[in-house]
Symmetry: D2
Subunit: 299 residues, 4 copies
């Protein structure tokens, strides 16, 4: 099955070998867009898509995502990055240029509930999630069969709070070996240590099975049932050290009613969880997300 997916990836790389994305964050001031446009023009790059946002009219922060096409981009990569330094310096920018040819490498962490994993693999298989899933890590064996049926390396690493350090050491080594760009917690029911989170700041996406900040913490569906809510939700967010408090990427809800039991809420919740997570991951892959303070700008 891998070969089929590999074909999607190869086609994508070929079709997009001349495309790049510029992400910028800096204090707002006159002249930014004009300087960037000039810079791109000097490299014969054409702007395909451009989105910007400024937090405030006065003393605000400026954010930009530009997708551009540039002849012979692969040959010019280094030069392009080097020459941007001048612009970046002038406007005190945090910035990155990503090349679509460098398909992002993703690791999926999962426990016993597999619906989010399956959704990601389904979208991936259809070519709708343009990433390279390089490994799946789980503290349970439930998903081994499905993961291996996709020819993805599977690592079973049992985990509990007593052995957290050793477990994370193994995981961090794997993430390094596979050069992972993005970690997706697809219903991975273990808490990560601050060390782990720090090592992968803004690269870990989690799915929480409630409409945060309602029902922060454990058993949201049971509590939603008891409160008699008419909608339940799901939240994809970046992981920080404040549990369930990281920057929100995407949220959605599904309608429920008095007939739904806790079990029904879980069942309905699964369908919204998996689509919200898939959307969040897609945006991360497309470089649409910039974190600012405790919020996510989606460009």
């Amino acid at each position: 099955m891998k070969s089929y997916i590999q074909h999607h990836i190869d086609t994508f790389k070929e079709n997009n070998r001349n495309k790049g994305r510029l992400l910028v964050k800096c204090p707002d001031q006159p002249g930014i867009v004009s300087a960037i446009s000039l810079y791109l023009g000097e490299h014969d790059a054409n702007i395909i898509e451009s989105n910007q946002y400024t937090t405030d009219p006065e003393n605000g922060i400026f954010f930009l995502r530009m997708e551009f096409e540039c002849p012979n981009l692969q040959e010019k990569r280094k030069k392009l990055e080097k020459q941007f330094l001048e612009v970046a310096y002038k406007f005190s920018m945090e910035w990155e240029i990503n090349f679509l040819y460098d398909v992002k490498k993703a690791a999926i962490f999962v426990s016993k509930e597999l619906h989010c994993l399956r959704e990601l693999l389904l979208e991936w298989q259809s070519g709708d999630l343009m990433t390279d899933v390089v490994l799946v890590v789980s503290n349970h064996e439930e998903c081994r069969e499905i993961v291996e049926s996709f020819n993805i390396p599977f690592y079973y690493i049992p985990a509990n709070k007593d052995i957290r350090k050793e477990v994370e050491a193994k995981q961090l080594q794997l993430l390094k070996d596979y050069e992972v760009d993005l970690i997706v917690l697809a219903r991975y029911m273990q808490i990560l240590t601050p060390e782990f989170v720090r090592a992968h700041q803004a690269q870990i996406i989690n799915i929480h099975h409630s409409f945060l900040p309602a029902f922060v913490g454990a058993n949201p569906h049971k509590r939603a049932f008891e409160r008699g809510v008419k909608l339940i939700g799901a939240t994809a967010h970046y992981v920080t050290n404040d549990l369930d408090e990281g920057p929100i990427i995407e949220q959605d809800i599904i309608r429920v009613d008095h007939r739904d039991t806790v079990e029904d809420l879980k069942k309905k919740g699964r369908s919204v969880e998996r689509s919200v997570l898939a959307r969040g991951v897609k945006w991360a892959i497309e470089d649409r997300l910039i974190v600012h303070e405790n919020k996510t700008i989606v460009l």
Copy 2:
């Protein structure tokens, strides 16, 4: 303008003079539906719509809403109610029979923000909210003009926490004088005392400008903005003495993003608040709501 609305009401009464609704709540046990069907059959009543729900397969509570049509219903009302006592007694029912001919009388309470009031009046005027709005009460003068343009009696009763008792005494007297069935708090920004609430148990509907239980309390939009949520919501609920904790009737959400300021969230919120409240009020008018513990069954 009243005359136009009065025409809607008169037409409705005429078209539905033979229609009634039976609401039942009792311990679940075999034979309930069959006994009710027999009873209705004996009175030549035909079931138009029937919805039921049981909390649990074992030792559950049974809920029923039946709409029926019965020749010469106006003449038979008393007899019908009297003869139901036997069935009700046998199954230990809480119950009521409502006659569509008795169009419910509603009072709307409002403060300075008028979008919910306007929505209710708009729906009412279109004949889509089959109630008789008999008075509007406000602690501000802002809505006088619009209310009086509908020929609805308007009562300006200034309020603050120091004079709460006197204020509520006046309000309670009005509700009594006008024989009000349903009180709608359409962004009425005053807290009601336990006495007031007790006097109108399960007859007071409030709109809360957040997706409860997220952002319980004041300033939900400011807090939603700070948390960076991607959806904001509104909740129509029955008022109890636990602030924002009463049984939820209906909820809905609207999508927001990082570009939205607190002011934008309020603006978007208004559109979802008014439609959620209108839906909740409509269901109350149609006798679709039964409160059970802290939940609302919508039949």
Copy 3:
């Protein structure tokens, strides 16, 4: 993987061995519900869920779906069905009693696009689609691997309009051999003959990749793109001999905008197609669908 799913099915059968569903369609008249309630009472059956609908107050058609629980149902099945004949006769009913223990057998037909197949298998695997998928038929080899990874028998039957008769003969034989209750066309791109359709009336569900009746026929996404619509949809419907004209079961839409290419519309369309089809199939499995003229009553 089959064993895992088999476990779901076995658990379901065990938990629901005493549950049945009664479906009724007959001319509306007084006394129907009461007669059915009495009949169920005589067999010590308790009504768990009941939904009814009447097309018109006068001379209407009455529809009922009742789910009931009855001690020792497996032993009483024949008796139950036999004794219902009297009630059915009196009210000229079309009816059926289904036993949850008899998990429905489904066949999935698919061509080259696999997203709907994958969704169904994903939901099935999670235990959220309580059916027994007994075979998959395709006119292409693309899905063999995934189907066989679920241990489901896969039949590759190449098809084109010249050999339609032979192809359908083979398919009909398979459907008979496997005692299939429900046929799901999960993006099966072949037209079925009237003979095939007649043999499985009201048992074939198709997914159409547009919001019918907009864009009836081929290439709906291309035409939607050209018309500049802001929403695209999907429609699950029963198959009749009028192409794209069968009774609609479920529909949903997804928001698109001017940036979306035809390819993007297809991609977004896939996500709504698969969820709409899964919902339609779920309702069919739960005996919620009754076809009346060219409409589907969902109870």
Copy 4:
């Protein structure tokens, strides 16, 4: 009531006296954004919001909407426009610069169904629709009272196909006298002549009570009922001489089911019609709409 609204408008003008919007449409080519940014920089204008879109990577059409702030804008207006000519000429642009201070003037045309009119007035009154509604025209008297209660000039112009020319002559004169920028057909049930449409190209927004292109033409709700659809919709579109075929601005849907009568579909339809129309009008007022061929770009 006017004075309250006038206050909204005055505040808006004061707060936005230094803001403008630039709209551009031209053949895509390198250097456009950079030239525009330079131009704005030269006038000390700061870009607040910028959205662009290109139809195709090769030989495409480029669209841009930029909102900017510029000190002393009111004094510089003429100069600003004049000096843009050079940029516009170089890139063969169709363009306009709009000043937020020039609040757009709108005329609403309506017949007997008033829900869309009421929604627009409600939003307008809340300050959420920043336009100056300078007159309402109707071929019926139904809305006179409500319109006049807002102190808006009301013109009753009876219409039918025999006197179309005279009617339109009167209307065109009024539109000229009031210097109307935008005409909103809020359920105005008269066909406009090509002459009328030509005179106000891309300035007439209509609401169609179906999800176009489904149910083009008359009685969409009746036909939706007969087809048994599970969703009904509404479409806001620019009026062209092809009935129901003009560029679509916005669409939305509402869920319906088999219980809904034609009357119910109309009732539910009203709620989606009014919100879709209000959204479309809001975007027009905010200069977000650019028509290209038969599509609307929403920036």
